[in-house]
């Protein structure tokens, strides 16, 4: 059994990690920390876990995380960069679900996240954890930077086109829609039911923190700089991300075949038949990305539709997938739940 610790388990990625790990046969959760809720039984905060998880939240100061094989950080940005280095030094492997180690350019990171980086040396050593692109590096990684939810959907959607060099790189458009759980379990007015229900809006059009992460990811896939307009939107559903991606065709090809071939052996990317429109509920609560590719009216624009559950393939599920790769387990272990529909 692989022993697992979780730092910061009271948010939505935390409880989702618990849901998945509690159904994983090869791991044992030995500690979960929360500064504010130390002493509280996890299942009393999240009744969905009653009868299946006996743990209590522990104070971070006293939890014996160094005895774990691997520790997940499901914390706000800026925590892992402070606390992970000591664990890493003690030989514990770390998967950070926050953004601390995702951006190679530390100065750029500081600018977008509004703080100095506490551990630039580990930024250089961290492996970006998108299994469909980084699988080999993840296997031996000590520190995995688990991708953001928007970046996962956008990179998986554009990847085959960029790798094959078929589209213009200077004017990519990613119009992406997220469920409200992406905003986290934080008491803030814009995320109230009465604000977000029966409503739709774009936000952060001048610049969203996932922009540099996506741009970095697309650039390394394309092998050169990309021009990207990224507009995130809030849509009144709990889970789900729908990326609608637009690129101008540089060289026509059989896009359907390209996508199918690229993802043929990927267990968690599903290319739909021609003419399809994936809906977010087809991946609800499941660790999978479903993709369709279109060339509307036979024109010179290719449109890709990619959906994920932001809390699973966009966060906790991908983190478990990375754990499986890091420890040589079957990649699907703990991740075989089917989507919940309706």
């Amino acid at each position: 059994m692989i022993t697992v610790g979780i730092v910061g388990g009271t948010g939505y990625t935390g409880v989702e990690l618990l849901r998945l790990l509690a159904q994983h046969t090869e791991v044992q959760i030995v500690a979960i920390t929360s500064r504010g809720d130390a002493g509280t039984a996890v299942a009393s905060m999240f009744p969905s876990l009653r009868g299946r998880l006996k743990l209590k939240f522990e104070d971070p100061a006293s939890a014996n995380l160094r005895a774990c094989d691997v520790v997940f950080f499901a914390t706000p940005n800026g925590i892992a960069m402070e606390q992970a280095p000591a664990l890493l030094a003690a030989g514990v492997r770390v998967i950070d679900l926050a953004a601390d180690f995702r951006i190679s350019n530390v100065a750029e990171w500081s600018q977008w996240y509004g703080m100095q980086h506490a551990s630039p040396e580990w930024v250089a050593k961290a492996v970006y954890g998108l299994p469909e692109y980084d699988r080999a590096a993840i296997r031996n990684a000590h520190l995995v930077a688990n991708p953001g939810c928007y970046p996962t959907a956008v990179q998986l959607g554009f990847m085959p086109l960029l790798e094959a060099g078929l589209v213009e790189l200077d004017h990519l458009v990613a119009d992406v829609k997220s469920g409200v759980s992406g905003a986290g379990r934080k008491a803030e007015i814009p995320a109230l039911f009465s604000e977000a229900a029966d409503n739709f809006k774009a936000y952060a059009v001048p610049g969203h923190r996932h922009l540099p992460e996506i741009r970095q990811g697309l650039s390394r896939i394309a092998g050169g700089p990309v021009g990207l307009t990224f507009v995130p939107h809030l849509t009144p559903m709990i889970r789900g991300i729908h990326a609608t991606l637009y690129a101008r065709i540089k060289r026509a090809a059989d896009f359907q075949a390209l996508f199918e071939e690229r993802y043929r052996r990927e267990p968690f990317v599903d290319v739909l038949p021609p003419g399809s429109h994936p809906d977010t509920r087809s991946v609800r609560a499941a660790n999978i990305c479903r993709i369709a590719v279109h060339r509307p009216q036979g024109g010179d624009v290719v449109v890709v539709l990619a959906v994920i559950d932001n809390l699973v393939k966009g966060a906790a599920g991908q983190a478990v997938q990375n754990l499986n790769i890091m420890f040589g387990l079957p990649e699907g272990e703990g991740l075989r739940q089917l989507a919940v529909l309706p």
Copy 2:
């Protein structure tokens, strides 16, 4: 492996049965029928099943259901009573998710369901499939009448009180709220998003078809006739039933202890701590009933709150639980998924 057939798999209880059975290690689905969609791949209608279920819908006329160990009917009312007897005669065991065999009094059934009963002799032989009350009889049953969604929640909520004889029987009130999936996957205007969203209403106050089923169930538990007012409501969520039950106290007792004791060994009933309010999402997509019992203001009324997922413990999950009991499998096989929260 137990071989399973499904008659009528295009509705919500059908797709939920597929989701659960596809994750069940001891069964193999060998046939699924649909008159209207014969030839269609199941996964093309329900993309959530892509990659996990290869079956196509077959025409009921040609499907070899007699070779199955057990056949589920996930059909509209009135189908199973026509088709199940031939299968039963051939030694196939049957679990009917519709209402055909739930009401012992055939005349009463005919009145509420508006048709003559085609198989009254099998009504007499059928076993009502509420495991928490009927487990022993289910083991050897050939034909199980799987309880309705409202009746499951109301019976589990009232059961300890009625068995112990602690409440007045003449004025029970069951005020129950259901998600819209309870109305089925039928193209009808009242179930449209634009009709049902951001809206709440009671319906069928003069008399709902589940009334005789609930009354019959409560009467056999209480050992005598009960007076029941049952008001169902439609609430703007997909899944979930919340029963709010009111009874006048005849003899005071430690209701909390009573409920905990009654359900101590039940794997799929969870009694919450005193003062709790179960929410439907704590059972979303999981085969469990969570219950809380209150005595507001220390008065002479006991209030029970019981929640289930109408498609799981209220339909397909309970049907799988019955299958497990019928075939001597561990009762939780295929039913261990945790609730999806948020």
Copy 3:
């Protein structure tokens, strides 16, 4: 023109008051206060008001509320009892949308609201503002205690039965469901979209603050003490209250005729035809209560279904109705908007 001030306009009852008053031809809003948002244009916080309301929030200390004919308090509980007396002393009439002046028994109020009452003498002078029962007293009132949302629906639903003495008074049941806006515009986790959407729950079963208000209201209508079980629920919609009311029949009567006669001349209560089920959207954004009365299965229980928009007839609309009565305006002035459906 009647000059109006609003204390505390940043919550949902505040913005709803603004929506209604901005469409009222006989009033002029001259001041609106907010401690935290002084200086902010109201329309920049609530873009729905852009182009129609020029006001800025003012600091309560500097706003000239004494020059108003009437001041609304749309504040948390405990503010009006501190600030209203000075205005009243200056001859300003006051309508309090909070609970400060609703409960005659000051000790009971203190117990439920957890604070000492700052102005018990004004509690005695306040008029409870349910127009259908208190119209005459409202006309000359200096201080109107605008009823709570739950209390409005429950009192209007039970009123004809209690006035006519047709039901047993000792075991009334009010099972009431509210949209999430009833929780106010406060940053609290349980009101987050990801917590409240696709979910249903009861809350405060041991005792909700509206219980004493409802009990007091029903008692004065019935002319004696009543026994009431009140269970509020949270339902995933923005606006709307649905009260399902149960009473044992003491003396049978033509309940339909009784309700129609009682409310025949009420402009804002609509009794539906026999067999109806009002839905909350039929009153969405409108100042009206729609009611249906049933006697299920011809039994000895009467069931009343009453719906209101909690922000309109349950708060701001009723407050404007009270203003109209107080100042001798047509009672429907500013309140003639039709419900928004779908």
Copy 4:
């Protein structure tokens, strides 16, 4: 008083037209037709209208529409082209809310709508009814083709940029999201609550019927052909359209000033301050389009966000606005209701 008839009043645009016209002081609805529901009181189908509208649906054959000053067609596509010409010949003015007269190129219309056009001569005489562009022509029009919901939002959003010639015309992108009421009040499975709630999807990416209408509209504004990729999406809300528009900048300018100037005198277009993100609820139930314009990261792409209520400014409200223009009434008559928020 202007006498008004409505053909086909049982859909969502129909009931919205009734809501608005019932609050309009200068018109009288004298007839409303429905083949299937003749004889039914309108208010019994739509209880939101109870007490405010006495009309019954009439059979189209017997309704005296020729006596009306103006007739609205709120019918499925293909009805107005059959029935409007006789009314027009009798001197009745007609506003068609369907698509029959929107596309000048009759052959193109036939291809997209899958039927022969019954009245090509009236296509040539019809005036497209986008007041912000066509006001002068609308004044004297006999037949107004009321724009579609998507086309209204997209044209208003792109209009200032195209008129000023500031953007590349060959690769415009319109990524547009609609509430489910846009699908109409039709009993179809994809519009069921349990299908559309908590879900998000694109649809009709290969080609949506509004594509030729939008392309035609943008081309006449731009004064030449445009290349457009249009992707509509279904979002789980009842009302609202959010258009996210992307264009490559040909010549930089002060876009904010451009938009403000263009719409300064438009009563129903509201340009938000720089940096804003309009949400659909800010126009819920109101006849207004709110717009924000962005130039993300100071790059070479301009992003416009435009929101409308699809049933109001995208259908019934715009139709009433056109009526006001046609009959010389104040343009805002009957359209001054404020948006309902929350």
